[in-house]
Each structure stands twice: as C-alpha cells, then as structure tokens.
Symmetry: C2
Subunit: 221 residues, 2 copies
Amino acid sequence: MEFKLFYEEYFPFWNKLTKQDKEYLCENSSVAYFEKEQAVHDNTGCSGLFIVKSGRLRLYMISEEGKEITLYRLSPGDICMLSASCVLQSISFDVYVDAEVPSECYVINGLAFKKVSERVLEVKNYALEIALGRFSDVMWIMQQIVFMSMDKRVAIFLLDEITENKTDVVTLTHEQIARHLGTAREVVTRMLKHFSADGIVEVSRKGIKIIDKKKLQDIAY
Amino acid sequence: MEFKLFYEEYFPFWNKLTKQDKEYLCENSSVAYFEKEQAVHDNTGCSGLFIVKSGRLRLYMISEEGKEITLYRLSPGDICMLSASCVLQSISFDVYVDAEVPSECYVINGLAFKKVSERVLEVKNYALEIALGRFSDVMWIMQQIVFMSMDKRVAIFLLDEITENKTDVVTLTHEQIARHLGTAREVVTRMLKHFSADGIVEVSRKGIKIIDKKKLQDIAY
C-alpha cells in the first residue's frame, strides 16, 4: 500500500499501467537502508532502481587502480536509473553508487521494471528520459575537468557542498575532496593553502570554513 | 522519393507512422554537403537531425577560451541527434559539430521531427535511445581523461585513427591531435618524441607513420 500511494504521485506513467502491472511493480518493491559510505550498487548486474527517500547517494566511476571521480549526487526525490543497467540496453559503462550519508530508498527490482517497460512504451520513455537527463550532469563535470583550472574546480566543489548541506563548513577531508574531483590529495591541500592565504577559507581540524563566499564565487564563475 | 526509400530501411519506427507523418518528414528533409572542416551545427538552436551518407562528422565541446575536446565521430549510417536539441528536452549542454572530411548528409528539420516524436511514442523512444547510446561514448572519453596517462590516450587516439582510415599513417598535425584530446600541442609533440625514440612511430612532414602497432597496442590496452 505504501508503494502504491507513493508511485501514484511519483511516476508520470502510473495511470498508463494496467492494474496487474501496478501490482507487479509494487510486489517487486522494497525498502532499503544504507549506512554512511555503504555500497548501494557495485556494478555487478542489475541492482534495480533506487528512489531516494532520505539521505544522499553518490554515483561515481572507478579506475583499475582504484582512483575515483564523482559524477553526480542523488537527493530525496531523485531516482537512480543507471543502477538498473538491464532496463537501459544503450548504456555500456560501469558506475558505482554508495550512500554519502545514512539513506533510505525505495528499490524496484530491475528485471521487473524492465518487463513492464517492454510492455508499456511510456515506462521505457520515462527510463530513457531520466537517464539522458543525467548525461547533462556528466557533461558539466567533463567540462570542468577538461576546461577548468583546479582552483575553479575546488571553488565550485566547496560552493556546491555548503549549498547542499546548508552550512558554511565543509567537513570532508582533503583526501575525500580529491576523490570527488579525481585528483591527488596534495593538489587539494595546495589549493586550500592558497585560498587560506587569500582569506577565503579557514582550514582547521573541524573542517574547511568558508569565510569569504563572494571571493570564492568570483573564482568559481 | 529518395528519402522515403531510405527512411523505410533506416528508421525502425517507420511502419508505425501514418501516411501523413511519413510525407511530412520527407517534405522536411533535405540533402546537405559540407566541405572539410565546415561547421554543421554551431549550437545556435535546433539544427536538425543529420544522417551521414558519406564522409565523417565530428562532435565536440568548446571552452570559452576556444579549447576543444572531441567527444565522438559519426560515420556513414550514423545519425546525429544532439544537434536536434529541441527534440531532446533533457539535454542541456552545448555541442558543436563539423565535417572532418567532405561529407554528404540527409537532414531532417528539428521542429518537424519534434512534432512527429510528440505524436508517436516510438519516434520519441528512438531519439532517446540514440542520444543515450552516445552517453557511453562520452563516458569512455571521460574515463580516458580522468584515469589514463597521456601516453595511453595518444596511443588509443593513433590506433583509432589508423583503424578508421584504413592506413598506417596519421596525417593530422600535432595541434589537431592536441585539440581532439583537449590538451596542448607541446604535450602531444613530447609524447610522439617518446614513441619515436622507442621505434613505435616515425614522425615526418608527411605525418605520423605507425611502424610498431603491437607496441602501440601494449601501451593503449
């Protein structure tokens, strides 16, 4: 019942489904809880669709040497489609998903969703639209990597963090920031020293406090 | 008549269209010829869909400073969907397309295709699938940029070039290769000097001749 009420509101295609398909999707749904940093999807098969109820998921790529880069984050109300690779035949790359903070998700079994998407074109369409929308996020990351200097990228990252968390302190370690940006810890540390010398941030054991947001924005945009 | 015969074979959705929609798409089709390096789509609005008949198109991003990076190429039989931004509402990034060699294309007006895609879900589905398929190409480029050293990237680029052109000589300048890879000319020149010293390539005014493909593959993969 919980799922049915939620899906009615959530999925634009819901009223195109037969009663049977609605029931089928609900029967193949579950609730999952993830601890901070717990793996949600590790690219082994079709984990399913995750709708974030609370918390935040992070989608990233990983190299053979274990180097990471964050592609985007999913907040409450967002749906993770790339973890349901069986639904999207045209996607052929590997992504990993984990929980950045304790998170609760509704999970729909990937194969069940696939079956319905093959019967109802509107469902297929929805899945494709969602996945394609994320293409734009990834292109923005790519533009940053290729075209922007590291000071701009660190500035954008810090601004995104404080906006997302509604605070002026970023509590991530330099190592964690480096992993988000796909670079080395030393590079982040050096950049933060510059920002600190310019009176933009204050680096302490508690984290990175943004003290001149205006200057940081000037660097970022 | 020319378009109708071609589209019947080309588009998997063709038999789902009404006679009127078929005619409408054909009436809104044209043939276009592009010189080498001529712009096909410069991101001002919805240029339309380009189906490559002969030649080769290149899709790339460009920074405010004019720095470029090649995302992928389109060969005969391929269709360019990202140049029809009006069809794909979920795409919000800017791409440029030009002809790498003299090219002939069938062009379908973007707004006409959009109208049909709104009437016939199979058409919308087709457009989304094609665009999403390119997401994988872009992710591959991104993985190269983030995770691979420049020697690997230059090696992969040279191997792709000789495979694509069925020759063992790459006639691009160092500057052009640098633009494809989103790096500086000096970086490419330095890398080719290394490859040359290792007996992998021979650099002359005629171009870059691959003399040890095996070694190049060892670097690339």
